[in-house]
């Protein structure tokens, strides 16, 4: 009865000085969705790189069986030929090419060495119908939302003969509605007999989707269980190897009446003349955590990047910080006024990856480590050490390039960098995206510490449990404006989703 699509036995992978995988066993039944869970650094990616041939046979110990046959992949190509397809967090699509071109890239339909475009487009249409996407195959991929691009990527894998589909954090960048479409597609694929390995930090999805769960910790297999024997709490406990009392260390506390940030009738128009932010008014109190929820394209990030001076185009309205009127044209004005913005994409907008930790930390606050316009390196190292220790950063030393740190530690450097500036308002855009459970918890603790000191926190998040778990108050956005406000007591997932998708805004979201 138990036929395995994939068996990995006794896999051991050694890097110089580190044993990344230690005798790992991983078996996936035919036609199931098998979740692979573990903290960052637990060995999930290494295991998948072995399976997909990135680390060729011979560089690891152990055995891989596909459909009962031993395989020895020497390259990625060989694993693909054997029906293993892996879809990474970072999508591998050519944005300037059309959907159809992307779907059949490297295996175009040819007639006498010449691409048969009619066939390419008609076949593409069939695949799009099959995954339930209603778009023209000639659409440029770059014009699609990230969620739809993800589906295209899956379709692309399916156009090749794929038996085992590996999804690495597929929903990290997706909104709730795109996640639903993706989950539906995966359920359909399961019904068609495709085996799927699903790597995710989002345990809610794992519980809803998976048939069984394998947990890795510190390079070892901890357990493989059918989903009915698990709960989110049990998975977390196994992943971290200790019991986390709570996922969200929210501290109830009295909140002051003083506004630290007040925005009145704020609108923003982009360079092409399109209204991105439409008459938004809200306030943030000293020491308050304000959650910002909404679907992708609701204008959440845009609102705050615009307030921060990072968007081109026109804007109108009043912005008061600490009761003082501001005129923010560029990020430097915002920083001077006491704003800090931690971007959702820390590698692109947050860090200079090739620079070391110390220099990244002081980049926005160089004047704090300069004397007579000259950088005092001793002082710089001292300040950077203090602040990063407060963030519980784990790194060999301050001269380590931030590109070499894990996602969680990179995020701590970004936080250090902004907190060094003593901001009055800290805007966190998806502060825990792609970060493991342990580091998430530490970042929540830092947020708590900051609100104790009176910093106002804006937390934009697509993870509703996080919004509900950490916020004092929740604003819901849709179509570039605020569609609802909920106190901590009132807020539930259902109410937020109702506001997020409510009324006419629903259409504009669906169209975008």
């Amino acid at each position: 009865m138990d036929t395995f699509a994939l068996e990995m036995k006794g896999i051991t992978k050694q890097f110089p000085g580190v044993k990344a995988l230690d005798n790992v066993t991983f078996s996936v039944r035919k036609g199931e969705i098998h979740a692979l869970c573990g903290e960052n650094g637990a060995g999930k990616s290494t295991l998948m790189k072995i399976l997909s041939g990135v680390y060729p046979h011979g560089t690891y110990d152990g055995q891989i069986l596909i459909n009962g046959q031993e395989v020895r992949f020497k390259s990625i190509k060989e694993s693909q030929d054997a029906g293993v397809a892996i879809i990474y967090q970072e999508l591998a699509l050519v944005e300037e090419m059309s959907v159809a071109e992307n779907l059949f890239l490297s295996h175009e339909y040819m007639r006498a060495k010449i691409i048969n475009w009619n066939k390419v487009y008609s076949e593409a249409q069939k695949w799009l119908d099959q995954i339930g996407l209603d778009i023209d195959p000639q659409t440029k991929v770059g014009d699609l939302t990230v969620g739809k691009q993800q589906l295209i990527e899956i379709a692309k894998a399916l156009t090749k003969k794929t038996d085992i589909l590996i999804l690495d954090e597929p929903t990290a960048a997706l909104t709730e509605s795109d996640v639903e479409i993706l989950m539906k597609l995966l359920n359909d694929l399961r019904a068609k007999g495709v085996t799927c390995i699903y790597i995710s930090h989002k345990l809610g999805e794992v519980m809803a989707l998976a048939d069984s769960v394998t947990i890795l910790r510190d390079g070892q297999t901890i357990s493989t269980d059918p989903i009915r024997e698990l709960s989110e709490d049990k998975i977390v406990t196994k992943m971290v190897g200790r019991e986390l009392k709570e996922l969200f260390p929210y501290e109830a506390r009295p909140i002051s009446n003083e506004n630290i940030l007040e925005v009145k009738n704020y609108s923003a128009i982009d360079e092409s003349g399109k209204t991105i932010i439409d008459n938004v008014s809200f306030s943030l109190k000293k020491g308050e955590i304000l959650g910002i929820a909404g679907l992708m394209g609701a204008g959440r990030s845009e609102l705050f990047i615009s307030l921060f001076g990072g968007l081109k185009g026109k804007k109108s309205g009043t912005v008061l910080i600490d009761d003082k009127a501001t005129d923010i044209k560029r990020p430097v004005d915002a920083i001077k006024a006491g704003l800090a913005y931690v971007s959702e994409d820390r590698k692109r907008y947050g860090l200079v990856l090739g620079m070391d930790i110390a220099k990244n930390t002081t980049l926005t606050a160089l004047n704090k480590v300069m004397k007579l316009k000259v950088i005092d390196q001793a002082l710089e190292v001292k300040r950077a050490t203090e602040i990063n220790n407060r963030m519980k950063l784990k790194a060999p030393n301050l001269e380590t390039k931030v590109g070499q740190l894990s996602g969680g530690n990179q995020q701590k450097v970004v936080l250090s960098k902004w907190i060094l500036n003593d901001p009055k308002v800290l805007i966190l855009d998806e502060p825990t995206r792609g970060i493991d459970v342990g580091a998430k918890y530490e970042i929540y603790k830092i947020i708590n510490e900051l609100v104790q000191q009176g910093v106002g926190i804006v937390m934009i998040s697509s993870e509703l449990p996080e919004v509900l778990g950490m916020s004092d108050r929740v604003l819901v956005m849709g179509g570039g404006t605020i569609t609802g406000e909920l106190s901590r007591k009132e807020a539930t997932q259902e109410k937020i989703m109702t506001f997020a998708t409510g009324g006419k805004k629903r259409e504009s979201v669906a169209n975008s």
Binding site: P331, R348, Y349, V352, G354, A378, T385
Partner: protein, 387 residues
Amino acid sequence: MNQLPTVENSAKVNRGLSFKVDLQAYTLIIALVLIAIIFGFFTGGEFLSSRNISNLFTQMSVIAVLAIGMTLIIVAGHIDLSVGSLVGLTGGVAAILQVWYDWNTLMAVLAAVVIGAVFGLWQGWWVAYRAVPAFIVTLGGMLIFRGILIGLSKGQTVAPMNASFKEIGNSYFPYIPGYILAVISIVLLFVWTAHNRKKRQSMGLLLPTAKMDYGKISAYSFFILLITYMLNRYLGIPLPILIVVVLAGIFIFISNKTAFGRYVYAIGGNQEAAALSGINIKKNTLWVFITMGALAGVSGVLLTSRLNAATVSAGNMYELDAIAACVIGGTSLIGGKGKIVGALIGALIMASIDNGMSMMNIETFWQYIVKGLILIFAVWIDISSKK
């Protein structure tokens, strides 16, 4: 991986680190030593004679000044293909002003530097404020500046320069003052190190061991004295070399110790993150190009002075030598990474190959081929050492 090291627990960590960082610089020095030994052997020691070393340093000075500016340009994520033409133009203008219009030397030199800076401003404006890629802007500049030079000089060679102008590129800092200068710089080196150590200690930061710090500067001091001695055995320290050393000192300071320098590295490393960190990308980029232009002016003066003439083809292809010097010295063309010291050593390596092969009477075509191969090889070593 631990918490960041504090004073108590990290002496070991730090020592390991300094060794690793130095190792990269050592590769370049080892390459240089190897080149010296090889040419020394094939020229019967003539390559390492005082006279030749003096010549070698003087020859590299024009490219070295360009390489200093080019390091900043490349670190900022750009490129400047126009510097060779700009060297020709600024040097030509200085010569025309002096020979045809009787300007004194100081004014002619100032004019060259200012004109260089103004053309730098022109190019920087296109790159920073009009977002035209630097490759295109400076490729245009390469043609434009050469064109202006030919037009102004009417295609003639402009010569001869005044005696004082000639001195800039051809005079020597004689025996006694040379040693005094060397000793002063050594004393400064020690005082500065001691001061730094004291300050770090007062802040409770970790220190490299005294042996290491002082050992390192003792080695530097030895080299300063050795080179001074070698140069003094001939005619003294060549003035162009002093100019290079002073400019290098200024720009190393700027790149390490000022906000502008730090911002240049941040912009080259990740422009979007730099912009959101409140850094003014356009203004800083503009200044990088102005600086490059001014340094091209200095280079132009040196070249005209050394040749005692300005020709229409002066500085031809110098941009490629300057870029090669930076790249050999470890500057990444992607931006964000690079050191001025590395570029200077790179310039010295390129000049040594030119000089050594000429002394061995190897035909010019071989020099091109060897230099090209070394460029590719150097970058390959850099890339493969990162894996």
